[in-house]
Amino acid sequence: MSQFVINFLFVGASFALYIGIAIWARAGSTKEFYVAGGGVHPVLNGMATAADWMSAASFISMAGLIAAGGYANSSFLMGWTGGYVLLAMLLAPYLRKFGKYTVPDFIGDRFYSSGARLVAVACLIIASTTYVIGQMTGAGVAFSRFLEVSNDIGLLIAAVVVFLYAVLGGMKGITYTQVAQYVVLIIAYTIPAIYISLQLTDTFLPPIGLFSNHVESGIPLLEKLDQVVRELGFRDYTADVDNKLNMVLFTLSLMIGTAGLPHVIIRFFTVPKVADARWSAGWALVFIALLYLTAPAVASMARLNLLTTIYPNGPTEQPIGYAERPDWIKNWETTGLIKFQDKNGDGRIELYNDSPAFAATAAERGWNGNELSVNNDILVLANPEIANLPGWVVGLIAAGGLAAALSTAAGLLLAISSAVSHDLIKGTINPNISDRGELLAARISMGVAIAVATYLGMHPPGFAAQVVALAFGIAAASIFPALMMGIFSKRINNKGAIAGMLAGLGCTLVYIFLFLGWFFIPGTASYTNTPDNWLFGISPLSFGAIGAAINFIVAFTVSSMTEAPPKHIQDLVESVRYPQGAGRAVDH
């Protein structure tokens, strides 16, 4: 059976499963559409949250980022898990007690202001739309590589599948497909990792393999990796960073951004009780950690494997010839994600760090520049091929990557459509709309959102790489502080909250635009994006934490200068703090 047929069977079987679940779990009311009827078991919700959260970025890109940056990129691991601790203690239980359907719902009610609600809707739509573009392009890449269709056709297939189960089933359909998608993606991620861990360290569990001895050389794996990368002029894999302030702020920005992403928060509205919301956050973290504890092992092992493939006799000996390159390099060259240029004309693949510090050694060895560029994103997808694993593992990876992209896309699309139908149409434009009318509006806005996301996926704006910074920056600087202050302070009033959100958001956007271009238009950046230009060495990606601090300070200052919130709002704050009397999500 050819690899194409195997991939087709794995992907086809997983899609049939998702559509089957969608038909079984159709939504009949707005409550089922928005919060799955409020009856999802906390462990299942934890699993669905994990799939909702772990996107193409987690599945496809993260291990590649860690492989390239080593210790310095640990921020992604800590940031994208540590946010759940904040969510579990500072937001999820109280928002579940509040018991309505969307994040702007809480902000609008708590700050008794349709202005605040609209700011929240705008933040939600910008953050979620930018995020969904990445999922659609990720799905397109996976389709085009594994099913040999063009990128656009791949995207259309993905859009039709998401349309079927998200529009039909709403949150109910999405929840149960996400559970299935979690199972698919975690199996797909861990099986190749286990294989490689056994090959390299003779250890079954990859997280333990990471800190075990490398079988071939008998020294610890990380020590071996440090040696190999050092010989080729790269920074030591485990080397410490100089700019600790930036690493702290970057990690913090990812954490509060994670806790403030609306599509994750609304998942906690689907469990029956406040106590369940607390447990569910723990389970979500367990299911996420299964992948996040495996990722650093995959990162270091794949990097070592890659370098060993190029330098089979060790980094101080000659690399392999281009003519003898393995098949996986040929496969990925056709996608343009691996590029080779024989700069010194010796027919061999010289892969090393083209830095001034290494120039003397390179000249001595007759090298004329790094000849192989490998895109970080292919590391996980190519991992089974690099390690010569059987064909069915490759098919599994294809299905897993698609599951990660589609589950996150569906969650984001639901967050967008509920903000439009519930907060804009029912909350602002037509409060008297019937339940059936609102359900139809929700389905139509979901369809429109999918069409827009697909179009943007086919014609990605030039700033695709920067959008993640934007989504996390917005969530960290506007949504998280507003929600937290709404719960933990009775004194923050409508004016303070709006001023805080706008100030936090504004400063963050300006700082990002200064370095990445105004509105991401190429060539309009005021400063080149290098550490020398950054304010106190803080990168634009790390600024969300500062934006959040600005939001808190402005909100407190403005609130203390203006009148206290009315009595019924203070009572509302009281009521979200105590689980008693929550009951099921309130219809309204």
Binding site: F211, P220, D226, A275, R278, W279, R577
Partner: protein, 86 residues
Amino acid sequence: MSNPKSNAEKYWQANLRLILGCLVVWALASYGGAILLRPLLSSIHIGGTDLGFWFAQQGSMLVFIAITFFYAWRMNKLDKEFGLEE
């Protein structure tokens, strides 16, 4: 006793204390052990590298899971102690 606090107020104070404690552990594992204190801990070796690297790529996440479950367990117990459970 001067100015006795209501049951609900005491519950909220207990929650705030618990959150604060958990956040201290959360920060120590990530910002402390994995980043700021890494140079101090560099003499403690583990699997070919130092303790700070382990915290950054493994330990912090294990601590996060422990904190989240501990908080859920403790709060769900407090709900009952104060008679505020659903």
